[in-house]
Symmetry: C3
Subunit: 274 residues, 3 copies
């Protein structure tokens, strides 16, 4: 069971905003920075191999996102990730498109061989690929029930394989540490029609991880996933009639104003007995 | 004459969202991704030479935009474009700033020597430059009537020279295949005060092209240009009083909600006898 | 004393929009382009070493921002900056994160050794670092009064050391040419919770500098800082209740619609006797 008094502390944290170092793609970098700021963090986007170790040294967490990848950027991710591991700050890994190209898959594997992530967050096809259970990136013709079972299974496998918290995102997000797990029933399908909602979710997980004790990180990650989903629900309720542009801005709005009370009313985090 | 029943099919397409592979600039990449999603497509932004061929292999169209160019990116564009040509999927080329620097012009020419575009979309100065009729990138002191005639002329020359559909964007967009052509009288001058409306227009053309039969591509391109213009008109009517920030978000809103009925009421696509 | 009739001319400028060449970071490049457009300028984002001299040759000002830096980009900044100096167009330098990493500091110093900036704009820790008075990038435990005095002192030192106009941004921005100075009491603390408000401010300074006579540049820079602050105040008054996403869009809205009359009513530019 989640100890919500601990989650409350994070929501009501009033100290110095923790620095969340992001090495991320250029498509959604601005949105990720803005959502971390909206949550209460201090994002630093820096990716040159000449400086990532210096930046990690002042950071409270590191978010690695392989959205627009290059060899040089992979090298920077590895340098930063190893420095984060040595320093003991949490690393969130978002394997965007793992399996969609040989290069992306190879780079993800290379990063995971050198860097120990504390949290990996991806969709079912990305996470399946990382677990060696690829079913092709698209057009998987399964029932919603089958897909849900796959998410549960892959979340557990990924958590055990990479010895970390895994998040398999989808209609419902599954969060697991290989032993305990949660299903998060927040969110709306509109979110898949805005670029970067996954990247933003990883960013918020980076913020929560920065403030979390290690033994609370599973709970904090589930709370971060729920918060992102709730922001999507609130924004859809208010703005979806206007269109997807307003809906996207509304997500950032709500991340900046959802308080712990609203969060508790809306969260649909369910314990998942494995 | 446009067969609007065909355009209707595209508006009402309910299948798997086609993957639109974009190699584009970092300034407007997020907006381009969001507008393709709003239109109904599935954008993938990937530009590393190590992966563009893999990404093209799962794509239904390719959009190449030289906004923030480098030698490495040019190489990736050529690899991806040649793969798209071999695979037979449509290629949209947006020669941002062609002629504004020697490097940009040289790169555009290099791409066009190796890749056959199905659609080229640029403003008058970019398209004139590609046709070897440069009049300098700015400060062309001509009357609106002269400029209109230049757009008509350059659209035809470009279509014939590059054996493709050409779009010369401006107060009115001109679309031509060298034989038939349309003048699109939608849009608003406010659009030129938002960065990336041209890039977004090319993105929507990439989406329409992905769903279009080859013999319908001229009509689909005209419809895509009209749709972008209509979204601009709707957003201006609702939001321009608030300012250019809201106007920009409103364009994405309207792309996500304009249905075929509204499109037909507002479209001002006129046949242009050449 | 500021000659506001000169500022009025800039607000009411109706000529060809001046080209503001930006070499900036990918996180906020879109926002910077949009705010320059909203102010009335014509932004061109181009950073390849093969083309920056060509682009500078048609520009009216150059904005250099080291947000997401690389060695290649530093080289481009130096090439562009030297060309701007030779041509006599104003250069705005925004040393984002100077001192936060050894690489960033070294690069900033390298740029300043080769390029003469007309305006440098940074926060207290960045500007202190450039002046050799680093106090560490974060966690400076001083009173608001102490911090204000530091901003005044560092602004003067920076202006004299780099022989340019310096802007030390903070709760109140300080603008100085080493001899005269202004304190700008516009703005709101919400602005620090949106990524890129500093980059946008530098962009607007680039626009004002493009239209300014050299002997008026101190006044124009103060006006640009005030305009950005006023846009923040207006947006906060209208949108902060909705959240930080809407607040950010509102800043661009107001930049596009604040006229000279409103500016004069709201500006809080105070002469600062040094």
């Amino acid at each position: 069971m989640i100890d919500y008094s601990y989650i409350k502390e994070i929501f009501e944290y009033k100290g110095m905003p923790p620095v969340v170092h992001c090495i991320t793609n250029y498509v959604t970098a601005g949105d990720v920075a803005n959502i971390i700021l909206a949550a209460g963090g201090s994002p630093v986007m820096a990716e040159d191999i000449n400086e990532v170790r210096d930046i990690v040294s002042v950071a409270s967490s590191l978010v690695i996102n392989i959205g627009t990848l290059s060899e040089r950027k992979t090298e920077a991710m590895i340098l930063a990730g190893k420095a984060a591991n040595r320093k003991g700050i949490p690393v969130v890994f978002d394997p965007v498109g793992a399996g969609a190209s040989e290069f992306r898959g190879r780079s993800a594997v290379k990063i995971l061989r050198e860097v120990h992530p504390d949290i990996i967050r991806g969709n079912l096809s990305e996470m399946s690929w990382l677990c060696g259970k690829s079913k092709g990136a698209r057009g998987v013709d399964t029932s919603p029930e089958d897909e849900k079972n796959s998410r549960l299974e892959i979340a557990e496998i990924a958590a055990l394989k990479f010895d970390c918290i895994s998040v398999v995102a989808g209609v419902e997000d599954v969060v697991s540490d290989g032993c305990r797990g949660y299903v998060i029933k927040n969110g709306t399908t509109h979110m898949s029609r805005v670029t970067g909602t996954g990247c933003m979710s990883s960013g918020i997980m980076g913020y929560f991880a920065a403030l979390s004790k290690r033994e609370r990180m599973l709970d904090c990650t589930a709370a971060a996933a729920a918060l992102m989903g709730i922001a999507g629900e609130c924004s859809a309720a208010e703005y979806i009639g206007r269109g997807l542009g307003s809906f996207r801005i509304g997500i950032i709005d709500y991340i900046s104003k959802i308080r712990f009370g609203e969060f508790m009313k809306m969260q649909k985090i369910e314990e998942n007995a494995l």
